[in-house]
C-alpha cells in the first residue's frame, strides 16, 4: 500500500507541467463576418479596448475583461486607415502609427464615430512597396513616439529613411534616431524606459533578435545607411560582409549588438510585439521582464535583460504557446494582470491555423517551476528559479548542458549557427535560500548565444521544470 502510494505520488509529480496548469488562454469573440487581422491594441478607460486591423478598420471592444466573454460587444469607430501597427490612448485621443504617418484621431462631436484625423508627422518615405511597414511605440517619457521603418521589400532602401528608427515629437517633428534596421515586428520599452524593437532574420541579420534602440546606434544592416546624409549625420558603419557582429562592433562603437538573439527555429522565427511586465506579480513572478510576441510559431517568449559594461544582454525563455494565429501586437493591462494579444497570418504563415485572432491570457495564480532569470558572471551564470530547488539535482553540474554559437554577419539571407563550442559546466553551487544556482562555466565565449538546458533540475517539492531551455546572448562578460 505504501509502495503504491509512493508510486502514485511520484507519478503525479513527474507529470509534465502544462500551460493550462498556470495560464488560461481564451479567445475573445470577434464581430461576426468581419476580417479582424489585428495589428495593434490600445487600452482605453473603462476597460474598453481599441484594435486596428490590417485592412484599416478601428474597432472598440467592451467586455474583454469580463469573466463571461459571451458578453463582449464591438463597435466600429473608424475605417480607411493605412495598416496601423502601433496604437495607444492618451487624453481623449487614439494615437496611431500608420504606414504613411503618425496620426491622432477622436470623435469630436459625440456621434460615436471618429471624425477628426490629425496628421502629426509624415516625413518618412513610402513608395507603395508591400514591405515598407512602420511600427510605432507608446509615448516615451518626453511624449515622443518611436517608429521603426522596414526596408523596401525587406532588403532595399528605395524610400527615405527606410531601415531607420525615427522619433516623432508631440509637436510633429521627426528625429532620425537609429540606423541599421531590417524588418521590424514590434517596438516597446523595458522597465527603465529604454526602447527595444524586434528584427527578423534575413540579410545582415543571422537570426531574429530583440535589439536596443540606443539613440545614435547602428543595428547591423547597412542598407539604409545612405539616408544619414539627408540630415547631415555621420555615416553609419560600413560593416564588412561575412564577418561577425563582435568583430564589427569592436571596429565600430556605434554598432550596438542585439540584446537577445532568438535562435531561428528554436525560439520562433518572427518576433513581433514587446511589452514589459510592471504588474507587480499579477501575471506571475516575472517582474520587469519582457514578453515578446511571435508570428510564425504563434507564441509569446519571455525575456530577462541586464546591462553589462553598458550593453544590454540577457536570456530568452520559451513561455506561452498555442495561440490561434500569428501574433503581432501584445498588450498587458498592468492593473488587471491580463495579457491581450492579436494577430494575423495573412502573407506570412503561422502554426496557429486561424487567419486572425484576438485572445487574452490570465495567470491562474499558480507559480510554475521555471528558470526565472539567468544572469552573467565573470566565470559563468547565475540561474534563479521561481521555487526552491532540490540541491541533489540542481547542485549537480551533470544535469546541465551548454552549447554556444554565433552567426555570420552577412548580406545573404540569415546565417547558419557557426563557431560552435561546448562550454563545460564545472560546478553548480546552490544558494542558501535554494532559489538560485551559480554555474561555473569553463569556456564562455564573448558574443555567442549560450544555450543552457537544465532538464534534470527538480524543485524541492519534486516537480520538474515547465521549460528547461534558456538562450543567453553574452555580448559582454562581466569584469
Amino acid at each position: 500500500m505504501r509502495l503504491l502510494l509512493s508510486i502514485l505520488f511520484t507519478a503525479t509529480l513527474t507529470r509534465a507541467a502544462a500551460q493550462s496548469d498556470f495560464y488560461l488562454r481564451e479567445e475573445i469573440p470577434l464581430p461576426p463576418g468581419e476580417v479582424m487581422e489585428i495589428g495593434s491594441i490600445a487600452l482605453m478607460p473603462e476597460q474598453k479596448i481599441a484594435v486596428t486591423t490590417r485592412r484599416g478598420d478601428l474597432w472598440i471592444c467592451s467586455g474583454a475583461y469580463s469573466e463571461d466573454l459571451g458578453k463582449v460587444t464591438w463597435k466600429k469607430f473608424a475605417q480607411g486607415l493605412h495598416e496601423p501597427f502601433g496604437m495607444f490612448w492618451k487624453a481623449g485621443w487614439l494615437y496611431l502609427t500608420q504606414r504613411p504617418e503618425v496620426t491622432r484621431l477622436k470623435d469630436s462631436t459625440g456621434g460615436g464615430l471618429a471624425d477628426t484625423f490629425e496628421t502629426i508627422n509624415s516625413d518618412w518615405g513610402i513608395n507603395g512597396d508591400y514591405h515598407e511597414y512602420a511600427f510605432g511605440s507608446d509615448p516615451d517619457k518626453n511624449g515622443d513616439i518611436w517608429v521603426v521603418l522596414c526596408l523596401t521589400g525587406s532588403a532595399g532602401a528605395a524610400s527615405d529613411w527606410r531601415g531607420w528608427c525615427v522619433r516623432v515629437t508631440p509637436d510633429g517633428k521627426m528625429i532620425p534616431t537609429c540606423s541599421g534596421i531590417r524588418s521590424p515586428g514590434g517596438i516597446g520599452f523595458n522597465s527603465s524606459g529604454d526602447v527595444f524593437y524586434t528584427d527578423n532574420q534575413g540579410p545582415w541579420n543571422g537570426s531574429s533578435a530583440l535589439k536596443w534602440l540606443k539613440p545614435g546606434s547602428f543595428q547591423g544592416n547597412p542598407t539604409g545607411n545612405k539616408f544619414a546624409k539627408l540630415a547631415n549625420f555621420p555615416s553609419p558603419p560600413d560593416v564588412a560582409d561575412k564577418s561577425r557582429i563582435l568583430a564589427e562592433r569592436i571596429k565600430h562603437p556605434t554598432f550596438i549588438p542585439p540584446a537577445v538573439v532568438f535562435p531561428h527555429g528554436k525560439v520562433g522565427q518572427s518576433p513581433t510585439g514587446i511589452v514589459c511586465d510592471q504588474s507587480n506579480g499579477k501575471f506571475g513572478p516575472w517582474k520587469n521582464q519582457l514578453y515578446v510576441g511571435e508570428q510564425t510559431h504563434s507564441q509569446v517568449q519571455r525575456v530577462a535583460l541586464e546591462q553589462v559594461n553598458g550593453i544590454y544582454q540577457g536570456a530568452v525563455f520559451p513561455f506561452l504557446d498555442g495561440f490561434e494565429a500569428g501574433l503581432i501586437p501584445v498588450r498587458l493591462d498592468q492593473e488587471a494582470g491580463l495579457l491581450f494579444v492579436g494577430g494575423s497570418n495573412r502573407g506570412w504563415a503561422s502554426r496557429g491555423s486561424k487567419p486572425f485572432t484576438f485572445e487574452r491570457v490570465k495567470w491562474k495564480g499558480r507559480t510554475p517551476f521555471e528558470i526565472q532569470t539567468m544572469t552573467a558572471n565573470n566565470d559563468g551564470f547565475t540561474i534563479t528559479f521561481t521555487e526552491p530547488v532540490d540541491p541533489s539535482t540542481a547542485g549537480n553540474p551533470a544535469v546541465y548542458t551548454m552549447e554556444a554559437w554565433t552567426y555570420i554577419l552577412q548580406s545573404d539571407y540569415g546565417s547558419p549557427e557557426v563557431d560552435k563550442v561546448t562550454p563545460r559546466i564545472t560546478a553548480a553551487n546552490v544558494s542558501s535560500d535554494r532559489k538560485s544556482v551559480r554555474l561555473k562555466v569553463d569556456g564562455l565565449v564573448r558574443g555567442h548565444v549560450h544555450h543552457l538546458t537544465a532538464k534534470g533540475v527538480t524543485a524541492a517539492a519534486g516537480q520538474a521544470l515547465w521549460h528547461s531551455d534558456a538562450y543567453y546572448t553574452l555580448n559582454e562578460i562581466p569584469r
Binding site: 500608420q98 469630436s108 495573412r346 504563415a349 503561422s350 502554426r351 486561424k354 555570420i408
Partner: protein, 469 residues
C-alpha cells in the same frame, strides 16, 4: 595507427552527417507548409503533399530552397503569391538534402532521396545568383509533369476555315480527328496557327452531386456544353488575359457526363483555359494545358459606401502617390486625394476600389481605381516645400475636409457628391493664396471656366463643381 585514426574520425563525423529531415522540416518549414504538408491555415500556403513541384527532378525544389521563390506560383490548381525566403545562407547542403528527402518521401510523396552532393553542385552552379527564382524561370528549366484531368475518351477535331464567330460544327467536316489520351484540351493539338475551329468531345467524371463552378477563357471564342446544355461561353474575338473570361455555375450529379467544347481561333495569338471547381473545392482544377492568370480567380472585395456615408480607403492606389486617400461617395463618384502632393489627383465614376489587390496575401498587386471615366486632376505639388498635410475631418455625413498648413495659414479642401457631380469647396485662412485648377478633358468645372488659377481670399470660400461630360 592509421586504422585507429580512421575510426576516431568516423566517430566524430557520423553524428554530424545524420541530419533528421523530419525534425528540420518541423523547425524551419512546417509553420508555412504545414506539419501535414498540406500548407498552413487550411491551405493558405502552398502544399507540398502531392505537389508536382516536389516530385521528379529534384533540381526544382533544391533551387527553391536555396534561393527562395518570388511571385505567383500555381500548385495543385491554386495560385499563391507569397515570398519563399531563401534558406541557402542558413542551411548547409546536408540539411537541405535531409529536408527535401523527407518532403519527397512523406504524406504520400514517393520521389527519391536528395544527396548533399546534389545540393552542393546546384549551389555552386548558382553561387552568383542574388535574386529569388520565379515560377516561370524554374518551369522553363524543369517543367512539371502534366497532371491528369477528369476527362476520359477525349477526342479532338480540327476544322480549318475563316469564321468571325463559332461555326455550326454539324455542317463541317473535320480535317483531322485524334484521341487525346492525356485528357487535356490544348490548341497545340491543331497543326494551324490562324483561321481554324476545334471541337473536343469526351466523358467528364464528376466526383459528387452539387454545384460546380466553371471558368472559361479563350483567344478568341469558345463555349462549354455539358449533356447538351450550354454552360458558359466566351464570344467575339480578343486576348486570353482574364479581361474576357467568364464564370458560370451549374448543378450536376456525380458520375460521367458528356462534355463538348467548341473553339475558334481567328488570327494572332491562340489559346483556351477551362477550369472547374466542384462542391466544397477551394481551388480550380484545369481541363486545359493553360491555366487562368492568378488575378482572375479571386472573388472581388468591393469597397463601397455604406449607410449613405462615403467610404475612405487608405492603401496604395495606382495612378496617384503612396499617401493617397481614396473617398468613395454615395452615387458612384470617387476621389483620390494625394497627401504627398497636397492636392486632389484622381476622380472617377462607378465602382470605387476593389480590396483584392491589397487585402489578400501580401498585397503586392497594383490597385487601380475600380470604376470608369478616370480623370487626372494633378500629378505634382504646387504648394511650397514648407506646406504640410495635417489630416482630415469628416462632417456629420462623413464628407472629408483635407487640411494643409502653410506656415501660419491653412488651406481647407472639402469634398462631397451631389446630383452626379463632385462639389469642392476651398477655404483659406491667414492671407490670400493662388490655387492652380487643372481643367482636363472629360469633366467640366463651371465656376472655373477659362481659368487655370483660383484666387482664394480669407473669408471668401470658392466652390467648384466637377461634372463629367
Amino acid at each position: 595507427m592509421i586504422l585507429r585514426l580512421f575510426s576516431v574520425c568516423i566517430s566524430f563525423v557520423l553524428p554530424a552527417l545524420a541530419q533528421d529531415g523530419g525534425q528540420l522540416f518541423t523547425l524551419y518549414c512546417a509553420a508555412c507548409h504545414g506539419a501535414d504538408g498540406n500548407g498552413a491555415t487550411g491551405g493558405a500556403f502552398p502544399p507540398l503533399a502531392g505537389s508536382p513541384w516536389v516530385g521528379g527532378d529534384p533540381d526544382r525544389s533544391v533551387k527553391v530552397v536555396l534561393h527562395g521563390l518570388h511571385g505567383p506560383v500555381d500548385v495543385l490548381g491554386k495560385t499563391y503569391n507569397l515570398e519563399m525566403p531563401p534558406q541557402g545562407a542558413m542551411l548547409p547542403d546536408d540539411q537541405v538534402a535531409a529536408i527535401l528527402t523527407f518532403v519527397r518521401s512523406s504524406w504520400g510523396n514517393q520521389a527519391g532521396s536528395v544527396t548533399a552532393d546534389t545540393v552542393k553542385t546546384i549551389r555552386a552552379a548558382h553561387a552568383d545568383r542574388k535574386e529569388a527564382w520565379t515560377a516561370g524561370e524554374l518551369l522553363k528549366l524543369h517543367p512539371l509533369p502534366l497532371e491528369r484531368t477528369a476527362l476520359t475518351h477525349l477526342i479532338s477535331s480540327v476544322y480549318p476555315g475563316k469564321w468571325d464567330r463559332l461555326p455550326d460544327f454539324s455542317t463541317l467536316k473535320a480535317e483531322s480527328v485524334e484521341e487525346e489520351h492525356d485528357g487535356i484540351l490544348s490548341v497545340t493539338d491543331s497543326p494551324h496557327k490562324d483561321s481554324y475551329a476545334m471541337l473536343w468531345q469526351g466523358d467528364f467524371q464528376l466526383p459528387a452531386d452539387g454545384e460546380y463552378n466553371f471558368l472559361l477563357d479563350a483567344d478568341d471564342a469558345a463555349r462549354l456544353i455539358i449533356d447538351g446544355e450550354l454552360i458558359v461561353e466566351v464570344s467575339g474575338s480578343g486576348p486570353m488575359d482574364g479581361s474576357r473570361s467568364q464564370q458560370k455555375k451549374a448543378t450536376l450529379s456525380k458520375g460521367s457526363h458528356k462534355l463538348r467544347v467548341e473553339y475558334l481561333e481567328i488570327s494572332g495569338f491562340e489559346g483556351i483555359t477551362l477550369g472547374w471547381r466542384g462542391p466544397g473545392a477551394k481551388s480550380w482544377s484545369w481541363l486545359s494545358d493553360q491555366k487562368a492568370a492568378s488575378g482572375t480567380i479571386r472573388e472581388p472585395i468591393p469597397i463601397e459606401p455604406a449607410n449613405g456615408r462615403p467610404v475612405i480607403y487608405r492603401n496604395f492606389i495606382a495612378g496617384t502617390t503612396s499617401r493617397a486617400i481614396g473617398v468613395g461617395f454615395p452615387g458612384g463618384l470617387n476621389l483620390a486625394y494625394s497627401a504627398d502632393h497636397l492636392t486632389p489627383e484622381l476622380i472617377w465614376t462607378g465602382a470605387f476600389m476593389d480590396g483584392t489587390a491589397k487585402w489578400l496575401e501580401r498585397g503586392t498587386d497594383n490597385n487601380p481605381p475600380a470604376g470608369e471615366n478616370l480623370v487626372t486632376l494633378a500629378k505634382e505639388r504646387f504648394l511650397p516645400k514648407e506646406a504640410r498635410f495635417r489630416g482630415y475631418k469628416l462632417d456629420k455625413d462623413g464628407n472629408p475636409t483635407f487640411s494643409i498648413q502653410i506656415g501660419g495659414q491653412f488651406l481647407l479642401d472639402s469634398w462631397r457628391a451631389e446630383s452626379g457631380a463632385l462639389i469642392r469647396k476651398l477655404t483659406v485662412t491667414g492671407s490670400a493664396l493662388e490655387v492652380p485648377i487643372a481643367r482636363p478633358a472629360g469633366v467640366t468645372i463651371e465656376e472655373a471656366a477659362g481659368k487655370s488659377v483660383i484666387q482664394l481670399s480669407p473669408g471668401q470660400p470658392v466652390t467648384l463643381t466637377y461634372r463629367w461630360k
